[in-house]
Symmetry: C2
Subunit: 206 residues, 2 copies
DNA sequence: GACTGGCTATGTCAAGCGTCATAGAATACA
DNA sequence: TGTATTCTATGACGCTTGACATAGCCAGTC
């Protein structure tokens, strides 16, 4: 095995990021939360916090991507989407609307390293890198959705737009539900989105 | 005048929050960014950072709400929505995709005060309050959209769901555009949303 | 001109942060 | 068994943070 400590740290970091954001998640929080040794951080992540954040984004992105792909190809677009939303809803409920999305957190909350010299140049390179990673994840999710739509015969351009819309709605809805401490925004968005998707698929031949 | 210093601080805080998130925005950053005196913070915001954050959320929420209402009632739902999206797009472009939404930041990035006693109880009350404020803002925006849709004859239940969808898409799209450093996600979402809205309005009589 | 009260400037403080160094434990292989 | 390598534990460091205290400025008013 390649040390489960490392994996626990990554998963724990992703979890904390999804709940609190990037900067509200300290490395000490991560080791507390995962019951892992603090000294191991330097060992497993020699590049420090940015590296841990990056791995957490990749990890969470891939986990969702795999699940989305599975459910879409097994159940088709409509039922698959419904199943995916249901799992998101359950996660919101079981965590009392605390859990969000670590990738969204990276896209919204800028990482702030040490302010190096004079506060003039923040750690912009790291932030750009994290944003790139978040973009890769978003693109990956869109791609999964896109392929599912095309698989059911939808034209490429329309499918691309719809895939973007779906990802945007999911991310935005997470924020609304957290603020509302309710799944109602998710329910409303789901209803409308299912309508849109089924109409689009029904007209694919035109 | 009731001291422009206070207002500049609030607007500056909202701006920084929208770019960096809640915890990456320090009070010292705000005074640097707005060229306001550091010592005045305790004077204008005796409750400290939480108070400044709260006022920033209210300020930004109201500003958007007013603009959205104006444009929707002057131009109607479709053209008004288009105009609103256009202004968001311009803002993204002129800030090189740095500016986001301070309300979204509050919903994603948890405020962390001093960890009081033993790290067990974070500043949960303050965070709940900020989330409530964010929820009020989101609700307000949805209400503005809802009224515009009803004004054009849409049935209440459908209008409610669409209003939620629109707000969710706008917030989610901000994140996608920031990560992509591109307005393409906004463009795609806008196209689909205009389609949905015009179809819904066209069928209002059924 | 002196007084006064709202504002500004600057320094100090405890606490938390990420990082690093160093020492100890555990594990794997000969 | 011995030893090398990998992992864990703990403390120290330099820094930033929000909060506070104290002193100075600068209108207005009598």
């Amino acid at each position: 095995m390649t040390s489960t400590t490392r994996d626990k740290m990554i998963a724990g970091a992703a979890d904390l990021m999804s709940r609190r954001g990037v900067n509200a998640t300290s490395m000490r929080d991560v080791v507390r939360h995962t019951a892992t040794p603090r000294g191991s951080i330097g060992h497993h992540f020699p590049d420090g916090k940015p590296q841990l954040l990056a791995e957490a984004v990749r990890f969470a992105g891939q986990r969702v991507s795999v699940r989305l792909d599975k459910v879409l190809s097994e159940l088709g677009v409509i039922a698959g989407f419904r199943a995916f939303v249901t799992s998101r809803r359950r996660r919101l409920e079981t965590t009392q609307f605390e859990a969000g999305c670590p990738v969204l957190a990276v896209a919204v909350d800028h990482y702030v390293g040490e302010t190096s010299d004079k506060g003039e140049t923040r750690d912009e390179a790291t932030q750009q890198h994290l944003l790139d990673l978040a973009h890769d994840v978003f693109t990956d999710w869109q791609q999964v959705m896109l392929l599912a739509l095309k698989r059911e015969g939808l034209e490429a351009a329309r499918a691309t737009r719809l895939a973007t819309l779906v990802v945007a709605v999911i991310e935005g809805t997470v924020a609304l539900c957290r603020a509302a401490r309710s799944t109602q925004p998710l329910n409303h968005a789901q209803q409308e989105l299912e309508l849109i998707l089924s109409e689009a698929l029904a007209r694919k031949a035109e």
